[in-house]
Amino acid sequence: MKSKKYNPPQLALRFFRWYCNPRLQDYIEGDLVEVYERRLKTSGKRLADFRFALDVLLLCRPGIIGNKKSNYSSNHIDMFRNNFKIALRNLWKNKPSTVINVLGLTTGITACLLIALFIQHELSFDQFQSKGNRIARVVMEYGFEGSTETHKGTFTSTKVAPVLSRTFPEVEKGVRMTDADAILYLNNEPVTEPNFMYADSSFFNTFNYEMLQGNAAVALNGPKKIVLTESMAAKYFGSENIIGKTLEVGTNKTPFEVTGVIKDYPKNSQLQFDFLASFSSMGQNQEETYFNANYTTYLLLSDENAFAPLLEKLDPFMEKEMAGTGATIRFHLEKFNEVHLYSPYTAFSSNTSITYLLLLGGVALLIIIIVCSTYVNLSTAKSIERAKEVGVRKVSGAARNQLFWQFIGEAFVVCCLSVLVSFCTASLLLPQFNSFVSRNFLVTDLLSPSFLLITVCLTVLISLAAGSYPALILSGMQPARILKGLFKNSSSARRLQQSLVVFQFSITVFLIVCTVIIRNQLNYIQNKNLGYDRTHVLTMFIGWGTDSKQIETFKSELKKHAQIKEVARCASTPVSINGGYSMRLPSMPETEVIGVFANPVDEDFVAASGLQLIAGEDFSEADMRGVEIEDEKQRRYQFILNESAARQLGFTPEEAIGRELILNSAGTIKGIVQDFNFQSVHNAIKPIVLFTAPWGGRMIVKISGDDITGTIAYTEQQWKKFIPNRPFEYSFLDETYARMYKTETQLGNVMSLFSATAITLACLGLFGLSSYMMQQRMKEIGIRKVLGATLMNLIGILSGNFIMLVVIAIVIASPVAYLLMKNWLSEFAYHTDIEWWIFAVAAMAIISITVITVSIHGFRAMAENPVKSLRSE
């Protein structure tokens, strides 16, 4: 092959080789080349190239196109068995690299499996409802005349379902539902059951649940009827047939007749209930108003195409209904099957937004890419060791595609091994994962047929993606050169490896920066001075309107304990106050009001929650007596405002004291407290009014923090005395506070986990690559050592190239992370700043990891006697 200055266009040549009958290929290709060379001389390269391509196209005709099948066929099964054996032997022989590969793949695949499990679960929501495609959930939007502001949600009044099903032929059935906690009695001990639902008798016509006992058609007809799930039936009755038995519900022990038992239904349902009581039991069947919207309405439509026509009729109908009331109400319909993924409104179970799922899917994809690039780096690094094998195989007549599939097969074996290990790790990690995502996955979910199918697809995908590049490289080697001992990877392979390293490290840097910033913000949230005290504060729910005398005695009994410092009754704890009120000064016109949050409290609230009074005084016992008067007109309310509220009214704290204020009823401003965060730190502090009222449903108990268990035991003992009809349940205020940032904490956890995964994988990839590079540069190192290079010199030289790659990665990733995190932080009214040291820390961490990883091989190279590497030649 002399004068190879000009080559015919490779693309055309490759195309020709692809379609041409192998029997003819050599001859025709010879012709093509001969003609090409001739044309090259006469008419120049460009024309020759063009004519060459034209010839190839014209050659593409039936007589010449032929199948690739060679004339003899080898014994595929034997070949496969042999390849498999070779693969296993190879893996066994190179134990360290096998372990690294399996470790890398396992880390990634475990993460993917868990994410896939979550996504699959979320996508399968409500699939078991056979009529799901014609069920609509009603969303109400209301507003008042003169204001453009409207409110939207799944709340509807009792009137909606009957009116709509009477008026519109499209609506077959309407179901009204509401869920509540209920107190039930198990062995005469009160127990709070969180999933207690009331529903219309049409419930079982609309949704399908399998009745184990009782008749679905009549189970919820009439008041005081109740249907239980199988497991609840077992919990409360245990016996076989429980139809007709009674269940006592609520603090006043209302007897409900058990009319049915349904089979436990799948967890992936937007309706979550353990008990289903008839809607009429609540005595709320009146159809007076569209307001009082405390219920959720589902409609069963006549067919799945009825959504649009019904919606069209709804608007004019509601306009007519609401005419002259000064309010507007519109109804929207949500498709039942789309509620979980697409609806912003929550009714019975929290939704998962589809964007969140897509994000997670993206994360999984990213992990797969990282995993594959690690594998690619590691196995191209190992390719030197396999080169001789490839050479011998090729000489013995192995076709390129046979070798290709052999190496893919090897990747597949490693992949399968990793998937097996991943299944073990995933099932071990399942409890932690469950608490991360607040779901309840079981090991059996990992083994469901559909999930196994996903796993098989994942395995094949990863084997192909990870295996094909090394397989291409290895199978494309030229036997003559390998066996001569001349072997070096092409520059394209080196470029690919380097870009993979940059890619992996960009992701790693990005994740580290994000994780540090999120952790920082979470830390800030946890330690922020919110203006109130939340350590060692117990909160308990005592029920609305419990007799105040009884609670007074309870309070004074509690205060007798040495460890209990303060006890207060209130409607909401200072962690989260959402009660909306309106206030105005007597001097303001009646139509002009200021929206404000307010919390009914007693005289001990300010002390118990550690609020700082900056003007005026705290409520006194006398103030409380003032609002306990029977006659509403005689009551005197007292207010404590925060600074923002005073400012909103136009007063300095001192000026405000003693002023009249109207908050529903008239009263006097008695004190001003420092601003405190009574809502999530996502929101800025708003005006708030604390007012005296004896009916708050909650109690907060400030304890000293010594002997917490003893104090709680004492409280429980007193509770049993004074509030025997309620279960004693308590939580700590700081826990409640932390729960408010559950999403953020989850995000922080997931990010930490993900960055740990990414760091591990990136290091493994780098480890493989540096070992490869070391092998290539063995001679160079030998010579350097002979000439007197020190260890530090060598490490500097060897890691220099990688450090450059990592620096590129840092430069790429930092701005992306900065912008994204800035956006995230801007959702908080109170947040930390993104400081430069975060990037510095991430960069330092990554660079030192790089140096350490590279040095491992450097040390090994250093320890070796240079004679060994220089001896040959």
Partner: protein
Amino acid sequence: MKNYQLGEFEEIVLLTVGILNNEAYSVAIKDEIESRLKRTVSMGALHTALIRLEDKGYLKSFSGESTEDRAGRPRRYFEITALGKKAMLYAKETREQLWKAIPKAVLEVSLQKLAVGSHQ
């Protein structure tokens, strides 16, 4: 009587293989046809014709030496078989018979016409 199938282009290729005698390989055949008949021959058409002729048994081929100007690929030389020769003869004879069967007048008339045409 055996039926020898031979298309027009196939006949030309067969004849050219005969002309080149022992030196007949694809590029040479192509060049020969192009220079003698002043028509361009595409590689595709030529190879298809050669393959078809070989399938019919009119040509046989053998692999030649590999040369450097062909990037190491061998030439494939063609040779007319006995059957091929018969087919060529058959084609020639049928043509001649047909020629002979044309009444002289037909040819003359057209010659006259040509003459008239040239006078104008």
